[in-house]
Amino acid sequence: MGAQIRVYRQKISSTTSMRKIFKAMELIATSRIGKARTRVAASLPYANAITRAVSAVASQSEIDHPLTTEHTEVRRAAVLIMTSDRGLAGSYSASVLKQAESLLEMLRSEGKEVKSFLVGRKAQAYFDFRNRSYEKAWTGGTDAPEFATAREIGTALVDEFITGYEDGGVDEIHVVYMRFRSMVTQEPTVIRLLPLEVVEEETSNTSDLLPLYEYEPEPERVLDALLPRYIESRIFAALLQAAASELAARQRAMKSAGDNATELIKKYTRLRNTARQAEITQELSEIVAGADALSAS
């Protein structure tokens, strides 16, 4: 009987220390989430300015730029998958990977070859475990992405895109990431990065007509410089949203883990008390039985 009490005690103490960890992780995620959301907001002016400029250039001048023209035949596609570096974030990475899996399925069913680019150790582990090949993986710092990382990814993807199919290049590029809608809802999202679909924002406002720009130097060179930046800013925006989503998911997961731990502690405490009471009762009845036996003899 004593052994059973000891087991319950051990379980209670280990669950208590786990609960402390969950609580700490929840608090850390909560404190970082504000910062992550500020960074999302801080990147908006740049993204807006660049989107506006790209829309202006793309809408006026009928420039035949390699980045804007759709390849007539899409035979190979690249997919960039953004997951987290670390786990303990509930279904965060799993749902991104699920979304990515269905995108890959769709692309393959359309007869396209797929090249995968990964962000985050979870995606890398997922691909390694299944012995799938991927082109490149960027790991480290998914919960606080740097612009330099976005630039690196952007450069790699644009390079792939510019390279012709025959030389192993791709014809379109997709990104899968977790979009941050609010603290409680994040949804896995797929966007097509290239060929460019310039996102028109608030163009319904007629006073906000795009002006006829003069270019310096030539429009082609301006586009050359603008488009990679636009791609980078889209990727950076996606990375920042993914980071905010990761933290929100981790906070939620840790909160429910902490709650479950509390429940478990309660349950084990009850069981321990029952076991202790049973032991006392048994000892008592043994003593009584012993006394009875002595007095009877």
């Binding site: 740049y46 400029a53 612009f147 002006p211 720009y213 270019y215 130097p217 060179r221 930046r229 950076f236």
Partner: protein
Amino acid sequence: MASAELEVEIVAADHFVWSGPATMVKARTSEGEIGILPGHSPVLALLGEGELAIQPVSGERIVVAVDSGFFSVDSNRVVIVADNATIGDSVSAGNR
């Protein structure tokens, strides 16, 4: 148009740098220097590495060090988009 002033906004990749009214902006493009006064025709140009100077309506001239980027001018609105931008010293934060 002559009475107007420029509405200047400087943004870097991951943060907002400065905005406010100004009477003149001097920037270095990839081709050479360009000065923008109120009423300038719309321009979209690439920034060269270097410093750009802004003369705010009130207060000291502001010098911002930028590396590559671009800027656009339309109807007295100047948007400077740089990959990295740091406001030079001797300038207090300006009116944010």
